[in-house]
């Protein structure tokens, strides 16, 4: 069975790869070439371009280019996610990181925690953190100022994050009691997050290799930047991790995806090993 998509010649692939890389820092290696190929056909059809060269030219057009670049990012980034995804990661947050942050900032007149879900897609991860914080703080949460910045490069997913409506499949790892507590059922297969969670989560657009774009998220206590670094080459990875380090408050934690490490890219962080999950502490 042939995969739907567009086989790119090496020259086409290189041109498109370099263009995307220069604009976003996202680097498609040979290993994930097929991801680009399966998704690019849709953009070629929409723009009426005959091949990738023509498409790159179209992107460079200063009028049409900017909007199309957003569309391209929206198309090529992977957005599969769900609530309470990765049990070990959730458990490290629930049992260790969140109680530690709560204990640290539980002071009269302070009581605030800021989290940055740095490639949050449609917001499942950000709302999961909101639920974990609510469960940890219980009634006291009304006296806390909690901000969870949910950022992505893709406008479509940010809109979905803002709407806060999810299919039941995204909630497959959430216990019935938590669903009851934090979601309203909109229809047979759709659930909306309740307003108290929405108040904590602030969606915003952010391009991780653009320093100006990231400066709004400095002084955070927890950065979740999971399964994003795989898209970056060594140089961009270095820049992004340096930015994360600078944006974290002292003692703050950063979590990467399950198979990602910062080895050889940055020092400064301390690696904290939890059961089947690794975090990096400033």
């Amino acid at each position: 069975m042939q995969a739907a998509g567009q086989k790119l010649t090496d020259a086409e692939f290189n041109a498109l790869r370099d263009y995307i890389y220069n604009k976003s820092g996202i680097f498609f290696t040979e290993r994930n070439r097929f991801q680009l190929e399966t998704k690019i056909k849709e953009r070629l059809d929409k723009t009426g371009c005959r091949d990738a060269f023509e498409y790159v030219k179209h992107l460079e057009d200063y009028k049409a280019g900017a909007a199309e670049l957003d569309e391209l990012f929206n198309t090529v980034t992977v957005n599969e996610t769900s609530f309470f995804r990765d049990k070990s990661f959730i458990s490290a947050l629930e049992k260790n990181v969140i109680p530690e942050l709560v204990q640290k900032y539980d002071m009269p007149g302070f009581k605030q925690i800021r989290v940055w879900s740095a490639a949050s897609s449609s917001g499942e991860e950000a709302y999961t953190i909101a639920i974990l914080l609510s469960e940890c703080l219980k009634d006291a949460i009304s006296r806390w100022r909690i901000r969870i910045h949910a950022t992505d490069i893709d406008d479509n997913v940010l809109k979905r994050c803002k709407d806060g409506k999810y299919k039941s499949s995204a909630l497959r790892n959430v216990s019935p009691s938590l669903i009851e507590k934090y979601f309203d059922r909109s229809d047979a297969d759709t659930f909306s997050v309740k307003n108290n969670l929405k108040e904590m989560v602030v969606p915003a657009k952010c391009n991780l290799i653009n320093p100006a774009s990231c400066s709004a998220f400095s002084g955070v206590d927890l950065i979740l930047i999971r399964n994003v670094l795989i898209y970056f080459d060594a140089e961009s990875k270095k820049k992004v991790l340096k930015m994360c380090y600078e944006n974290l408050r002292n003692g703050g934690y950063m979590f990467l995806g399950h198979s990602e490490t910062i080895f050889g890219v940055t020092t400064g962080f301390k690696m904290v090993s939890f059961v089947n999950a690794t975090a990096y502490r400033k």
């Binding site: 070990s88 458990s91 490290a92 049992k95 260790n96 198979s259 490490t261 910062i262 080895f263 050889g264 301390k270 690696m271 904290v272 090993s273 939890f274 059961v275 089947n276 690794t278 975090a279 502490r281």
Partner: protein, 303 residues
């Protein structure tokens, strides 16, 4: 619930365990000799057919990766080494001695051995990966490092149940819960048992000092440190025993510092990747653990 005269009471409990079989004493004596011959060693082991069978089973497992299946003890000794085979015998005997009587309530023995096997396997892989030379049999050291837990559990299963529960409820280390609830800890108790069994000193030190590395002797501190680090890694790989889910900075443990002092290249290694790649050892660990639990010996052997 601090227990008075705990040591004395536990000693009584140890008294009721079957002694280390004579065959182990013979093996230990042979190994001390400089001109120890592999035929002498295999001869001693072959006196006990069920022991020989178990040793061959483990020797032929994926763990040793032998180029072909061995069916004679002499061949096994030649291929995997005297020390290693002697250790396998020890393992078979110890797991047998510590096997609970049928019908007796015990802690989760399966996950106990899983943690112990994982610690031993990780110690071996760690040394191989980072070119750390050792004389000691780290696999066996890993297997017996927590043996004190079985003794405490046998002494009072209810108390040990409470200890495990505390680790889950309060997310604290097992050793902390033990000290609080019974006033003693598994490392000390394990030391008492190994002392009584008169096993080589390194095994005593591993059992007694894997949580207090500075108390280990200079000669054995590195081996104790390797087991201690592997013990941490086993826990964070999910081969834990108890409910301690706390994070640990491996590079800041005493164990890491001690090993690093002798092997400074360790500091420049991707430890996160090493820990991640241990997923590949899962099958080995599961396979060995199964053999450990199933490698039962005929009841008639018990004394």
């Amino acid at each position: 619930m601090l227990i008075t005269n705990f040591k004395e009471k536990v000693y009584n409990c140890i008294e009721f365990l079957p002694p280390i079989p004579d065959i182990m004493k013979e093996l230990n004596e042979l190994l001390q000799k400089k001109d120890c011959d592999l035929r002498d060693i295999s001869g001693v082991i072959e006196k006990d057919p069920s022991l020989s069978l178990n040793v061959l089973k483990i020797a032929n497992s994926a763990f040793y990766g032998l180029p072909y299946e061995v069916s004679s003890m002499e061949r096994a000794v030649a291929l995997i080494g005297l020390q290693e085979v002697a250790s396998l015998c020890m393992v078979c005997n110890i797991t047998d001695i510590l096997k609970p009587e049928p019908g007796v309530m015990t802690m989760d023995i399966k996950s106990f051995w899983e943690h112990s096997v994982a610690t031993g396997v990780i110690a071996k892989i760690f040394c191989k990966e980072f070119n750390i030379r050792t004389q000691e049999n780290l696999y066996l050291a890993g297997l017996i490092h927590d043996v004190g837990k079985i003794i405490i559990d046998r002494f009072s299963h209810i108390a040990y149940d409470g200890i495990i529960k505390a680790t889950h409820d309060e997310n604290i280390a097992l050793i902390e819960a033990e000290k609080r609830i019974i006033g003693e800890s598994h490392d000390r108790v394990g030391g008492w048992l190994i002392e009584k069994w008169e096993l080589p000193k390194v095994f005593f030190e591993v059992a007694a000092h894997h949580h207090s590395l500075m108390d280990a002797s200079d000669g054995n501190r590195r081996a104790v440190a390797i087991i201690s680090l592997s013990n941490h890694i086993a826990r964070i790989k999910g081969f834990g025993f108890g409910g301690d889910m706390r994070g640990i900075i491996l590079q800041e443990t005493d164990a890491f510092r001690i090993i690093n002092a002798e092997y400074p290249h360790l500091r420049d290694q991707d430890i996160a990747r090493f820990v991640m790649d241990l997923d590949r050892a899962d099958n080995e660990i599961a396979g060995l653990e199964r053999m450990m639990n199933a490698g039962s010996r005929p009841k008639t052997y018990r004394r």
